[in-house]
C-alpha cells in the first residue's frame, strides 16, 4: 500500500531548479532512502513533504488524500532530528512529553502513551535519566520516541547519523533498520552516504540535480545501475569506466586504445546492432576484474601501479594502456608496484553505457 505519493513535483529557488518533475511513491512500512550528492534536491523533497517548503507545481498525497494544502502540523508526519537535538536538562520522559504538552494532551493519556512507546523502544528503565547519561544508541531511541508519541503516519529523517563517529554510525545503521522493521513504521530518509543507503533501505531513490535517476532495491541499484551517474555514485571503490566502441565484425567491444576486447553474446550483439550509439563506456566493478600472472588468450597485459591492502581485501590499481583499472582481490594476493601482470574481465558481470547519453545499454 502506498502511503506517500509524490507526483510531478518541481521547485526552484531563484534561478536554481532544485526539483525537476519528481515522481515517487513510498509504501506503507517501507524504509525508503533518498540518496544523492549535496545539492541534488533531497532535503528540498523532504521539506516539501513536511510542509516546510511550498512546491512550484506537482501534487503530494498521503493515503490517497492530498496534503499539499495542509499546514505542517496537520500533515501527520514527524521529523526525527539528530539525537543531540534532545533537551539536555530534561529527563527522557520530559523530552518525550514535550510535543504532547504542546498539544495540551490530558496527563493520563500522555503518561500511558509515553509508557507504550518507551516499552516498544525498550527504554522504559531510562525514562528518568537525562540525555547525557545515555549512550549514543539510547539517545537515538529517545529522539525516535519523541517523534513516535505523536503517532505520525510517516517518519522523515534528514541525515540523522552524519555527525556520529564511524563506529557509532555502523552500530546505529543496524539499530535503526531493526527498529523500523520491529515497529513496522514508514521511514522516508535522506542521506549522501551510499553505504548507509545500501545497508538500511528497502528501496533507494537516487537523485541528481533535482532529477530522479533510479528507484529500486539496493541489490538492483548495485548490479544494474540505470546510468553512468548511478554506477559511479554507488559502490566503493568506484566502478571502473573504460571507453570503447562496438566492432560488429569482431562481435566484440573494443577499447578506444585497442588494449582489450570484450566478446559479446548473440543477445548482446542483437541489442547493440539496434542501438545507434557511436561510443560506449564499459562499467566493471573492482570485484569483477581478476588479476592473473600467466598470459593467455583473453588476458589483458598491464602493470601494477599501486597496491592498497585494506585488511579483509586488497585493491590493486593496474595500468592498462593509458587507463587505470582497480581490481579487488583477497588479502593474500601479493604484488609489487611496477610488476607486469594480466587482468581478465568478467564477461558476465559488466554494464555498458551509451557514452553520449550515459544511459545503460547492456
Amino acid at each position: 500500500m502506498t502511503t506517500l505519493e509524490i507526483n510531478h513535483l518541481s521547485k526552484s529557488f531563484g534561478r536554481v531548479q532544485a526539483l525537476n518533475d519528481l515522481s515517487l511513491g513510498v509504501h506503507s512500512g517501507e524504509f525508503l532512502i533518498l540518496l544523492g550528492p549535496t545539492g541534488a534536491g533531497k532535503t528540498t523533497t523532504l521539506r516539501c513533504v513536511a510542509g516546510l517548503e511550498k512546491p512550484d507545481s506537482g501534487m503530494i498525497s498521503m493515503g490517497g488524500a492530498r496534503i499539499d494544502g495542509l499546514s505542517p502540523a496537520e500533515r501527520d508526519v514527524s521529523f526525527v532530528f539528530q539525537s543531540y537535538a534532545l533537551y539536555p536538562r530534561k529527563t527522557v520522559y520530559e523530552n518525550m512529553a514535550f510535543p504532547l504538552r504542546a498539544r495540551e494532551m490530558p496527563a493520563d493519556a500522555m503518561r500511558s502513551r509515553i509508557q507504550d512507546v518507551a516499552a516498544k523502544l525498550r527504554i522504559t528503565e531510562l525514562l528518568q535519566r537525562r540525555p547525557a547519561q545515555l549512550s549514543g544508541g539510547q539517545q537515538q531511541r529517545v529522539a525516535l520516541g519523541r517523534a513516535m508519541v505523536r503517532e505520525p503516519r510517516m517518519f522523515l529523517m534528514d541525515e540523522p547519523l552524519t555527525n556520529l563517529d564511524f563506529k557509532l554510525r555502523v552500530e546505529m545503521r543496524a539499530e535503526l533498520k531493526r527498529l523500523q522493521k520491529e515497529l513496522g513504521a514508514t521511514f522516508f530518509y535522506v542521506t549522501n552516504d551510499q553505504v548507509e543507503a545500501m545497508s538500511m533501505a528497502d528501496r533507494i531513490a537516487i537523485l541528481s540535480q533535482g532529477v530522479l535517476q533510479q528507484i529500486d532495491s539496493p541489490e538492483t541499484i548495485y548490479t544494474r545501475p540505470a546510468n553512468l551517474f548511478v554506477a559511479g555514485f554507488v559502490g566503493s571503490p568506484r566502478m571502473n569506466f573504460l571507453d570503447c566502441v562496438f566492432d560488429p565484425a569482431a562481435r566484440a567491444l573494443v577499447a578506444d586504445d585497442q588494449t582489450w576486447q570484450m566478446p559479446l553474446s548473440p543477445v548482446q550483439l542483437n541489442t547493440l546492432e539496434r542501438s545507434a550509439s557511436g561510443g560506449y563506456v564499459l562499467g566493471l566493478r573492482a570485484e569483477n576484474v581478476e588479476p592473473v600472472w600467466e598470459s593467455a588468450p583473453g588476458v589483458i597485459p598491464g602493470q601494477v601501479y599501486v597496491v592498497e591492502p585494506l585488511g579483509d581485501r586488497t585493491l590493486v590499481d593496474i595500468k592498462i594502456g593509458a587507463s587505470m583499472i582497480k581490481a579487488k582481490v583477497p588479502p593474500t594476493f601479493a604484488a609489487q608496484t611496477g610488476e607486469s601482470l594480466g587482468v581478465r574481465f568478467d564477461h558476465d558481470r559488466f554494464s555498458l553505457f551509451n557514452k553520449s547519453t550515459g544511459e545503460v545499454v547492456l
Binding site: 564511524f166 563506529k167 543496524a174 548495485y222 548490479t223 554507488v234 566493478r285 585488511g311 588479502p331
Partner: protein
C-alpha cells in the same frame, strides 16, 4: 632522505591551572607518553589514532613546531631538538593547503626555492618534473583559489616536493576532499612516495587511508604507542584491544569468555566452546584456572550455515545489510549479537535461524584486565 628517530619522547602540555596547583613534579596533560619509534629511510609511516591520541603532537615535534618536554628527536644522524623548523630539512603539508591566494600556482611552488636562492635553471628543472608528476602542468599560471580542491591539494604537495626535503610530514592532507577524490589521491600519493623514495610521516584518523597507503602503521591512543607494524600485521595480529577495535569495518566481534587452563575458551553466555589448538599463548599467559578474556572474531572469519547442529553457535538474523560486493548480517546469538560478512550471493532474511562457524585459525584473544593480546 633520512631516518627519523624518536627516543623516549614525552610531551606535557602545562596550563596555568596545572602549574599553580602543582607540587613537586608538575601535573599537566601528557600528550605523548614515552614514545620510542624509528621511521626508516624511505619509509611511508602513518601515525593513526582517534583525536587526542597524540599523533599530531608527535608530528609537530618532528617538524619543530612543538618542543619535546623530554627525549631526543633525530633526523638522519642529527639531533634536531634545538633546531628551528626551517633548519630541519623537512616539508610540512597541512589539512588546509595554506597556498598564497595572490600568487600563481608556479609562484606558489617556486617560492621556497627562490627563498633558498637556487639558480633559475635548477628551479625550472625541478618545477617541470614536479608538475609532470602531479599532473598540474596545465594550471601553472592560474591562481590557486580558482582551482577545485583536488588540484589545490596537488599544488600544496608540489610546493613540498619541489624542495626535495629529507622528510615529508603530512597532517590529514586528504580530509577535506570528497570521497571519490580522496580515493584517487590515496593512490597518487602512495605512487608518488614510492617514486621519490622520500621518508614520509603521515598523520590520519582514517584507518582506510592508513591501511592502503603505508609501509607501516603506528597506532596511538591517549599518548601511548599501541603497536607498530605493516597494515596486514596490524589487521591480522592486533596486540591490544584498542587496536583490534580501531581497525576493521565493521568492528571486530568481541565475545566475553573464559580461558580455562590456558587451553579451552568458553563464552560467558551460550554454548560457544573453542580449543586453542594451533595457537600459542604469550609466555606468561598459560596459567591454570579461569581467566577472563574477550574472544575476538572478525566478521569475515565467521560463516553462515543452515545446519545449526554442527555450528559453533546459532542464532536468529536480526538485520541484513546488503552493501553490493558483500552483505553484513547481524545475528542475535546466545553469546551476544554478532556481525557476519558474507558474499552477496548468500541471502538470509531477518527472522531466519542460522548457525555460525568460526575460522579457528583466525581468532583473537584479549585479557579483559590488561586489554593485551594473549596469543603470540
Amino acid at each position: 632522505m633520512a631516518e627519523v628517530r624518536l627516543i623516549n619522547v614525552n610531551k606535557k602540555f602545562e596550563t596555568a591551572w596545572t602549574r599553580r596547583r602543582a607540587t613537586g613534579e608538575s601535573a599537566g596533560v601528557l600528550a605523548v607518553n614515552q614514545l620510542n619509534l624509528t621511521i626508516q629511510d624511505g619509509e611511508f609511516l602513518v601515525l593513526l589514532g582517534p583525536s587526542g591520541c597524540g599523533k599530531t603532537t608527535t608530528l609537530r615535534m618532528i617538524a619543530g613546531l612543538e618542543t619535546a618536554t623530554t627525549g631526543q628527536i633525530m633526523i638522519g644522524d642529527r639531533e634536531v631538538n634545538q633546531l628551528p623548523p626551517g633548519d630541519r630539512d623537512i616539508a610540512f603539508v597541512f589539512q588546509f593547503y595554506a597556498l598564497y591566494p595572490h600568487l600563481s600556482v608556479i609562484d606558489n611552488i617556486t617560492f621556497p626555492l627562490r627563498a633558498q636562492k637556487l639558480p633559475p635553471d635548477e628551479i625550472k628543472r625541478r618545477v617541470e618534473r614536479v608538475a609532470r608528476l602531479l599532473r598540474i602542468d596545465h594550471i601553472l599560471k592560474r591562481r590557486p583559489n580558482r582551482l577545485p580542491s583536488g588540484e589545490q591539494q596537488r599544488v600544496a604537495l608540489g610546493r613540498a616536493i619541489v624542495r626535495q626535503p629529507q622528510v615529508f610530514l603530512m597532517d590529514e592532507p586528504l580530509t577535506n576532499l570528497d570521497a571519490s577524490l580522496r580515493a584517487e589521491m590515496r593512490v597518487e600519493l602512495k605512487h608518488l612516495q614510492q617514486e621519490l623514495g622520500t621518508t614520509m610521516v603521515y598523520v590520519t584518523h582514517d584507518q582506510t587511508e592508513a591501511m592502503s597507503m603505508s609501509h607501516r602503521i603506528a597506532v596511538m591512543n591517549l599518548g601511548v604507542l599501541q603497536q607498530v607494524g605493516t597494515p596486514l600485521e596490524i589487521y591480522n595480529r592486533p596486540q591490544t584491544l584498542f587496536v583490534a577495535n580501531f581497525i576493521g569495518s565493521p568492528p571486530m566481534n568481541l565475545i566475553p569468555a573464559r580461558l580455562h587452563d590456558g587451553r579451552q575458551i568458553a563464552s560467558e553466555d551460550g554454548p560457544l566452546r573453542l580449543d586453542l589448538n594451533g595457537h600459542r599463548l604469550q609466555a606468561d599467559s598459560a596459567q591454570d584456572g579461569d581467566r577472563k578474556v574477550l574472544l575476538g572474531v572478525r566478521s569475515e572469519d565467521m560463516h553462515l550455515a543452515d545446519e545449526t547442529d554442527a555450528a559453533d553457535v546459532s542464532g536468529v538474523v536480526t538485520v541484513r545489510e546488503p552493501l553490493g560486493d558483500e552483505t553484513i548480517y547481524q545475528v542475535e546469538t546466545e553469546a551476544g549479537a554478532l556481525l557476519v560478512k558474507t558474499p552477496p550471493r548468500i541471502v538470509r532474511q531477518p527472522g531466519d535461524r542460522v548457525g555460525l562457524t568460526i575460522d579457528r585459525r583466525r581468532i583473537h584473544l584479549f585479557d579483559r584486565a590488561t586489554e593485551h593480546s594473549l596469543l603470540v
